[in-house]
């Protein structure tokens, strides 16, 4: 079976990591190790910025510190979903294993971060609005995005073979973005018809001061590095799973053949 351009995830650095070959094989490579180390080194800095260096916000007080984890989660979730969307289109065009794996890897990561987005968003709402759930366009469309991502995974898990798995999931992957746009638009319209729309329009209306802005950008950047790192590893997990599946199938073919020819 053709693996398309499957190697491009690691080719630039496909070299002599003898330790991995002889010792414990992993999905790590020099490239991912660099990314992983960057994330680990930045973590203390993220915590320091979020909890110590930045002042409490004038309007929101301490609750702004939750946004330093919420905003990166949102960004990672939506970027991952966008990757799935693009990969689904590319799969429908190229029909390569590579794009199928990119799409499914990003969808799984996306569903984890979408769930985290919802949780931190609800906690923030609890502090700010006094209720965990507001029918806010962003929150609501994120919830439906999450449900659709769950459906995506369920569809993949239920498909009997690789061909139907990639075909069917590419269709759902393609629907992710239109669905989110339509849900978002409709909820926005719906809420703007109510008089209380301004109530939660004000919530982000606070002064973004230099250090706070920097903290946001920094934590988001760390989140993106984490996303790339996760994508590499998850892609390789999927790629290995396909190889294992192929191996089992060719063993089954050989076994059946051996039975037939005396």
């Amino acid at each position: 079976m053709s693996i398309g351009n499957g190697q491009s995830a690691g080719t630039p650095l496909a070299t002599q990591d003898t330790r991995s070959v002889t010792g414990h094989p992993t999905t790590g490579s020099p490239a991912t190790r660099v990314l992983g180390i960057i994330v680990l080194l930045c973590l203390p800095l993220v915590l320091w910025l979020s909890f110590v260096a930045t002042p409490p916000d004038a309007v929101q007080g301490e609750s702004v510190r939750l946004l330093y984890v919420h905003v990166p989660s949102v960004t990672v979730a939506y970027v991952a979903c966008f990757v799935t969307f693009v990969a689904s289109i590319m799969w429908l065009w190229k029909r390569s294993e590579w794009w199928d794996l990119v799409g499914s890897s990003a969808a799984e990561i996306g569903s984890v971060f979408t769930a985290l987005t919802l949780v931190s968003g609800m906690i923030w709402g609890q502090i700010t609005w006094g209720t965990a759930w507001e029918w806010d366009p962003r929150l609501t469309s994120t919830l439906f995005l999450f449900l659709l991502l769950v459906g995506y995974q369920a569809l993949r898990a239920a498909s009997p073979d690789r061909s139907s798995r990639s075909r069917r999931s590419a269709v759902i992957g393609l629907l992710l973005v239109p669905n989110i746009l339509i849900v978002n638009r409709s909820v926005q319209w719906w809420r703007s018809l109510h008089q209380d729309a301004t109530l939660f329009r004000t919530d982000l209306d606070f002064r973004i001061e230099g250090l706070m802005l920097f903290t946001w950008m920094f934590t988001t950047a760390v989140g993106m590095v984490l996303l790339v790192w996760l994508l590499f590893h998850r892609f390789r997990v999927g790629w290995l799973a396909n190889r294992v599946e192929e191996r089992q199938l060719s063993e089954a073919v050989a076994a059946r053949r051996a039975e037939a020819t005396p």
């Binding site: 995830a9 939750l66 190889r243």
Partner: protein, 44 residues
Amino acid sequence: MSTWAWVITGWIITVVVVVAYVGLVLQRGRSLSRQVPPEEQRWM
């Protein structure tokens, strides 16, 4: 619950889930790597 408690809860949930997911992915990668010969792991 106080604001601080909520903030800390949110952070802890996020960090724990991310760490757990990262661990899961790495673990899956390790167990699958053992079943595939190194020459097929092109990132090596």
